[in-house]
């Protein structure tokens, strides 16, 4: 395909050509960044969590009298355990992805400044089964350890044992076994008795990148701190069991404020904001691509209309339909290429701006590649209609005046 005549013709129509290039450049820049941000939202929403989420429901209980809470918690757990359909029940201070996070910093050496927000899970007896933790090394807490666990006035666990996440074990003691090692915070020390697969933080966005999978587990006897019940049931009748459990608790604790959710809802609620953002971005992308495509169709149609006579002459002197079609497709390809090149520079600049001012990370190159390919394809599809119309101009057009 000879491109010199195309360039000559574009040179004559500088304004429309420039507008198409600009349009494609803008669309490409915004598309790359928007798709990248949608992907980040999706990845966030699917953050792995090594507990068996499917059968778990969480009931938050508020407004218990602090002095009587210990009895209430024991009584509630016993009553829930006796319910049909409930496999296991345990009390916990806060579930993963819960809103009222309890963070603390721990270090693997005494007097070292902790640098990560670790989520503190105070768990009641049986919580390892109720959550479905995956033990990788060591053991869970003994009944005796559960019975001794409580909070000191400085809000540290009085227990001397701790379960840690696999990520923390690797971070604190690279290349060594974590079992038997000590962690420190304030004036307290704990011995690691087990390592579990990574459980996600209580409020991962607050915990930050380093704290997202930094979780530590302490045994806790029934107390006011354990104001969430974890229920495990068959995923099939999870909703029904949760409803029943709410009624049971409502009768047992008439003064308390109860809030029950399946873990699926806990996760959905936590990521609701980023999911909304993602949908909005998707909507913007779709409308934007539609607008771009319509713009290309409009301008190319105008060109085709203007050049009917020239097309007729070319056809009369021997050009085939296919060659006319190829002419417009090549023209569009040249414009798209210019637009995409400009767009990639813009997309990169936008990404750098967002990185500097917002919590956005660097965009991997394949988003740029994907965006470029999408706009090339969009351009070719948009130009197809007007180009086919051009190809169907009969040679006799050459003999007519406008």
């Amino acid at each position: 395909m000879e491109i010199r005549p195309i360039l000559a013709s574009l040179h004559k129509h500088r304004v429309p050509a420039l507008l198409i290039v600009l349009e494609i450049a803008l669309a490409c820049a915004v598309l790359c960044n928007a798709v990248f941000m949608v992907a980040q939202c999706v990845i966030d929403g699917r953050a792995p969590n090594a507990i068996d989420e499917q059968g778990v429901s969480v009931i938050h209980i508020g407004g218990l009298d602090g002095r009587l809470a210990a009895d209430s918690v024991s009584r509630d757990v016993a009553a829930l355990r006796a319910m049909p359909g409930v496999k296991t029940v345990a009390a916990i201070n806060e579930p993963p992805l819960g809103p009222d996070a309890m963070f603390n910093g721990f270090a693997s050496k005494p007097n070292e400044e902790p640098q990560v927000n670790s989520s503190v899970y105070l768990i009641g007896k049986g919580a390892e089964q109720a959550l479905g933790l995956k033990l990788l090394q060591g053991r869970y807490f003994t009944d005796e350890e559960y019975a001794q666990g409580e909070l000191l006035p400085n809000h540290q666990s009085a227990s001397h044992v701790v379960l840690v996440n696999q990520s923390d074990a690797k971070r604190w003691w690279p290349g060594q076994s974590a079992l038997g090692q000590q962690i420190y915070s304030d004036i307290n020390t704990w011995t690691v008795i087990g390592v579990v697969a990574d459980v996600i933080a209580q409020d991962p966005s607050f915990a930050g990148v380093s704290g997202k999978y930094s979780s530590v587990f302490f045994p806790q006897r029934p107390s006011a701190e354990l104001n969430n019940y974890i229920l495990r049931s068959d995923p099939a009748d999870r909703d029904h069991v949760l409803q029943q459990a709410m009624q049971t608790l409502g009768k047992l604790e008439p003064g308390a404020v109860l809030e029950g959710k399946t873990f699926a809802d806990v996760r959905a609620d936590y990521f609701a904001g980023s999911r909304n953002l993602a949908w909005m971005l998707v909507l913007v992308c779709v409308v934007m691509l539609a607008v771009t495509a319509l713009g290309i169709v409009g301008l190319t149609s105008f060109w085709v209309g203007q050049r009917r006579k020239q097309i007729g002459i070319r056809r009369a002197v021997g050009a085939s339909c296919r060659q006319i079609l190829a002419y417009f497709q090549t023209e569009n390809f040249l414009l798209s290429t210019a637009g995409v090149l400009l767009g990639l520079v813009l997309a990169f600049a936008i990404n750098i701006y967002l990185m500097r001012h917002y919590e956005v990370s660097r965009m991997p190159w394949y988003y740029l590649g994907g965006g470029a390919a999408a706009l090339w394809l969009l351009g070719q599809l948009a130009v197809l209609g007007p180009a086919l119309r051009a190809a169907s101009v009969p040679p006799v057009e050459a003999t007519r005046t406008i």
């Binding site: 915004v30 640098q115 809000h155 304030d186 913007v284 301008l299 105008f302 919590e359």
Partner: protein, 442 residues
Amino acid sequence: MMGYSMELALRGLRRYPKTTALAVLTVAIGLAASMTTLALLHMLSADPLRGRSQHLHLAWVDTVLAKSQTYRSLDSDWATYDYKRLKTPDAEALLAAHKGTLQAAMADLDAQVGGDKGEPSNEQLLATSSDFIPMFGVALQDGRNWTAAEDAARTPVAVIDSELAQKLFGTPKAIGRVVQIKHHAFRVIGVSQPYAPQPHFYGLNAWTFSGNERESIFVPFGAAIDVGLASSSTDGCDDVTEKSKQYIAVDPMHCEWLAFWVQLDTPQEVTAYRSFLDHYAQQQPLGSFGKKPQSQLLSVQRWLTLQNAIPDNVRLNVLLAGSFLLLCMVNVAGLLAAKFMRRGAEVGIRRALGASRRAVMLHHLFEAGMVCLLGGVLAWPLTLLGLALLRMQDQGFTDLARLDVAMFAALFALALAVGVLVGLLPSWRVSMVQPGLQVKSA
């Protein structure tokens, strides 16, 4: 000539109705997206207390007898929660100094509040001092505010809002009744209208934008301390503080928990207050903790900026919608260019008959302007729809998404500006048509 250009423009609009409709629709979508996000940003960044907030300043002096602590994680990607509060003795000293027109110390606390009978309910309580109500413009419906003398005497009195009065006593006429706070009696001396400025700038640690949260009861902070109410958060405690009193219920004497706001009416007063604070800071024995004297006096706007009060994704959405509008504009410029160039022959004849370039350009600018104004009209219901969609999301601040008069005017100003910008290039191009050439081919 203006009238003639306008008439030509109107005719032009009707000539290729499909292209015109497409252009109008594109402008409308772009404008609606931009205005929806801008309206939310506008509401969120609005002055929380019109007519008052420019005189209000947050005063802070570092008096914590401990090494400075950083609350930053390694990633440093979350805000340092540094609310610039004071310990009780310092707040009392600044109140007693009385260097501003009005001044008040305040803290948001959770409290169980009960009436004569029935279950107590959880309410947001503002522990503050007597100047708060006049200074922040809380409207009293009935009764009176408490006095500086009652502050000093730590008298258990309370001002409650009409909705709490209704809830506790079944009537807004609650003067002289008694509310129970932590099983202590507080006499109601005033009933106010519900008070909820947005953002909640004087207590950002409690919340920033609230749907239905607000302080429903105001009491002297001394009386609040006496009944055992305490803040659950602090910006720092003296080293002597017991560890257990640094969390959950902090020690009011040794931990920072009160925000101190002062009303300063003139720049001279601001300067004077700043030097007063500097002087106060220099008297603090902080040297042994490795700290230099520190004090700050921040205006409301500066404070909200520092605290990053407007959520990031609101600004991000404005940027996104802005770039979308830009794309729509380029697209419409393209459509208009095509439309205008199609009548090249006609313009050639007009030029040959003596029309000036200016006249041709004006006609086409008018046409572009009208396309965008029509787009603006269509964008209005679309914007309202967008805002309604925003309000349906529950993110704490989205219920503020509304279109006020200023933003309504801005919509049309923007539409007109877009029209001129979009029209410039195509109109210039069509005005460059050579007279002779076009006449020949026609």
